[in-house]
Symmetry: C2
Subunit: 203 residues, 2 copies
């Protein structure tokens, strides 16, 4: 059974307990209109008209007939956040699905092998102590809501390592762009070798 979240009344809170694996399909279906598809770093990614987001209950999605591309990612335990950071994030962040969040972004990212062969303390040092990834994100809460999906350990053949999904109101779009600029200027981004920025509007 494939659930179409977009037609479901469940709250995000209920969803996050039940589902971890999400499939993002670019094609001509779905409630999200793709406004633009920009290659930030690396190879071209094909544009599509619409995006559909599905929770797949652990099943590999069948490519839909009219899809241009399909990406999968799974939510997982946090890899870098420490307890004080998590508590602060929790206090400030809001969930996906807010009625005012009519804009969204899907940002697939792949990191270089040098990132993955670093040890945990080395990655954390680049991620937060040098790049303030969590700190920058905090500045934009609760305006920007976010869900991180991991791809790298789904199989050996996923094109990207992460898919991050962001939702925000039109009045927060400038802030969102500024947040991405800050992150992209940070030392962590020296380890990014593929990044696509897909912008969406709820229809």
């Amino acid at each position: 059974m494939t659930l179409n979240l977009e037609n479901e009344k469940r709250s995000e809170n209920t969803m996050s307990k039940s589902y971890r694996l999400f499939t993002f399909t670019g094609g001509n279906e779905g409630v999200w209109e793709i406004i633009r598809t920009v290659t930030v770093i690396g190879d071209h990614w094909p544009p599509a008209e619409r995006l559909a987001v599905r929770a797949d209950e652990g099943r590999v999605a069948e490519g839909s007939a009219n899809s241009v591309w399909e990406l999968r990612g799974i939510t997982s335990n946090e890899r870098y956040t420490n307890r004080p950071e998590k508590d602060t994030l929790r206090q400030r962040q809001e969930g996906l699905g807010r009625p005012s969040s009519t804009l969204a972004a899907l940002i697939p990212i792949r990191k270089k092998m040098t990132w993955w062969t670093m040890t945990q303390d080395e990655r954390r040092a680049v991620f937060e102590e040098q790049s303030k990834h969590i700190g920058i994100g905090l500045t934009y809460l609760p305006a920007i809501a976010r869900r991180l999906h991991h791809c790298r350990d789904l199989s050996e053949r996923e094109p990207f390592d992460f898919l991050t999904w962001f939702e925000f109101a039109p009045e927060s779009e400038t802030a969102f762009d500024r947040m991405l600029e800050e992150l992209r200027r940070s030392p962590e981004w020296d380890y990014v070798d593929w990044e696509i920025d897909i912008r969406l509007r709820r229809v």
Copy 2:
């Protein structure tokens, strides 16, 4: 294409660069005879006669005709090891496939949800500062060779979170048992809610 590693002449070193996803099939095929299957914590796991280990190039394995069970896991970046620990491990450890390593163990483990909702610093504190997981393992190098496979982020429906594969010579079996005892007495094991201990002999 599914490669049968047991019939391949490639070295482990070559393998580890190319393959990350491994499938372990309990049935009546494979070069490993299953000596015993012990439930350490949690539900019963069905015994089988033989174990086959395959590298699957990212493909989901087709259940083989005579399999009793099939488990998948993917090697990944290290989650807790810091730089000094990694350097020490590297100096002391030896690879899989040593001719003298005629005994092996496959230990599937699942951890409680409380483990997965802990933050990185909290998990690291239990894993190493309280439990000396890396420290205990170091004591048994190079006698015990090891490869860790992650399952939790392969899908939502994997029965276990980790599969650890160990290889050693018969004269190191007592040491191996002692190592497991030490680990199982540690605070980290309070978070384990399913553990199977499958012992094997190369035929």
